[in-house]
Every structure is written in C-alpha cells, then in structure tokens.
Symmetry: C2
Subunit: 199 residues, 2 copies
C-alpha cells in the first residue's frame, strides 16, 4: 500500500473519541476503534503499539481541543466576560460539547487509577485555573471584583462550580436543564462581580 500514509494518527484518536462519546470508554477496543476509523486493526497497531498508547494520545487530543477553543476566545476585555466565556466553555450547552464532556468525564473517572491519565488531567486543570486566576486578578486590579475575592481560591471554586454543573447536567439531565446550569453559573458570577453597587 501507499508509501504516503492513507491514515494519520489523528484519524485514529478521533475515531476513539467517537466511540467513547457514543458508547462509553468500555466500548473502546482496538477493533472497535479500527472499525470506527474504517481501517483494519492491524493499521491501528502500526501507529500505536499498545492500546494504552492510543488511549493516552486520544485523551491528550481531547484536552488540546478544549484548550485550543479556550485560546480562540475573544481577547480579555472586561474580566467578567472573559471569566464567563471561559466557564461557559465547560458546560454542555450544545450537543457537540455534551459529547466532548462525556468523553472527558469518562477519561477523568479513570485518572485516579492511571498515573499517565492523572498527569494529563492535572496539566489541563492547572491551565484552566491559571487562566481563571488571571481573569480574577485583573478584576481585582480594576476594582470590579467583590471585595473579598481571592483570585487563586475563587478560581478553584469557580472552576469547580462550572465543572460540577456540567457533571450534574450530564448524569442527571432529567433533573437539571441547560437553562438552569447557566442561571446557577451566573448567580455565582454575580457574587464574584457584583452587578450593581456593592458593600
């Protein structure tokens, strides 16, 4: 067959992500990924010698995609808008991000039992917290933040709120609508960035 490859590694990691989004991480096997990519199982082995290598590459790619989308956000203008845009990216507000979050949740649930997965997760987490912290620090400097805001601590809390809302909306969709999670997030933001006059 061609000396120039017909398939790229990204085709395989993307196929894995599709399998996870559709049927869960348990449905991932070398053969199911190969089928989703439209190639043979041997081709998958050629690019990824072990299943773990494929798994880690796919997880890395998911994280990269999220980071890339965050980097594509409009420039940091008003701190509140920036922080809000960042956090909204974490919520399953459309079907595409819902699928992506299912993948992220599946991987992260496996992280506590896999050192490599845990490292990938931690790196992504640190990136998120840093961005939020920068936004909050800028808000404090501009005097538009609530008086008792601590950028680091409140970045941790805000990230947890958004991710927690996403988690709950994903796992209990009949108990929590998309509108509700946005309202809950905005309530949190209103306390970090007092809307009217405050204290």
């Amino acid at each position: 067959m061609p000396r120039r490859p017909r398939i790229a590694e990204a085709d395989l990691t993307d196929a894995l992500v599709r399998v996870v989004a559709g049927e869960g991480l348990d449905a991932v096997s070398v053969r199911s990924v190969a089928r989703a990519a439209g190639v043979s199982a041997g081709a998958v082995q050629y690019y990824f010698p072990t299943k773990d290598a494929l798994l880690h590459a796919a997880y890395r790619r998911v994280i990269e995609r999220v980071v890339a989308r965050a980097a594509r956000l409009p420039p940091l203008t008003r701190p509140r808008d920036f922080v809000r845009a960042l956090l909204l990216e974490l919520l399953p507000l459309d079907d595409e991000r819902e699928a992506e979050l299912r993948v992220g949740l599946a991987f992260s649930a496996r992280s506590p039992f896999s050192e490599p997965l845990a490292e990938l997760y931690t790196e992504g987490y640190r990136t998120l917290i840093s961005a939020l912290e920068a936004g909050l620090r800028m808000a404090v400097d501009q005097g538009v933040a609530a008086p008792e805001v601590d950028p680091r601590r409140d970045a941790v809390a805000a990230a947890a709120t958004a991710d927690g809302l996403a988690w709950h909306a994903l796992c209990a969709p009949t108990a929590l609508s998309r509108d509700e999670i946005v309202r809950a997030l905005d309530a949190h933001l209103d306390r970090l960035f007092p809307p009217a006059g405050e204290h």
Copy 2:
C-alpha cells in the same frame, strides 16, 4: 452446604465496591468480585444472575450509604452549619470518603451510557438538592442568607461547587490539596451566608 446462607448479597456488592475503589470499574468482573468476596464465581451468579444486576445493586448500595450518612448528621440547627456539613460530606477529606468518591465518580461516568445507572444517579441528585434547598430556604426565612439567594438555584450551584471540588481533588490531587478545597467551599458559603453585616 448450609441451607442457611453463608454469604449475603451485601457481601458481594461490598466486594464489588472494594474492587472499584482499588482498581477501578474496569477491573470488575464476576470472577474478580468473587475473589474479593472469598467465594466462587458460581456463588455470585446464584445471587445475581447477570453482571449488570450486580453492578446496579452495588451502585444502589453506595448511594444508600451516602444518604444514610447524611441522614445521620446532627439536626438542622443553624442553616449554615447544616448546609456546610452536608457539603463537606461530599468532599474527599479522609481516605474512606476518597475511596467512596472514586467509586461514585466511576459509576457516574458510566451513567450517561446506561439508563438504569442514570436513574439511580438522578434520584440521589434530587435528594441532595432537596436537602440543600431546604437548608437555604430556612436561611432565607431566618434572614441569615444573602439578599439575592434563590434556594433552588443556589442549591444547584452549591452542590455543583462541592462535587466539582471533590472531582478536581480526586483527579488532580497534586494540584489541589484537601485544605484548599475546604477553603474554596467556605468562600462559597461565606457568599451565601454573609459572615459580618451585609448590604
């Protein structure tokens, strides 16, 4: 062997939970659970005809244990103390709850792909939200809550914050200490229940 059973169903579900806590949900097989329970695989089949039945029973048991521990909390005195105690139960502040949370996270990550698991999760979620909402409503009635508190909406947000902190601490333990998640949670509580005088 004895007509009086040597093992109970709970022995098997508990064994499954131990396997999940130690090696993850993927490590769960009829045989691994049997080994953890110290019985034969046949015995497991005798009590649970399918693996799914065993899985669901174990998940149910995990939820029951959490609900039972919440019900054992000291009576609802000051709303803030009640809500705080409820939310602290969700955090991995000791090794026992950390293990339990790993189990809960593993199950919930599978919920979006399994209707029965999703129903169990949703039921537990509704219970939690109801309890938090009651606490917040009482705070509003007593006038100890921040002025803009909406019990339902803020119950959703507070539950998300606590669960999100737990999630992050579990998956990125090197980036987030136990002290930090408590501080972040308390910051959130301070905004729901203003400590000094407010507005």
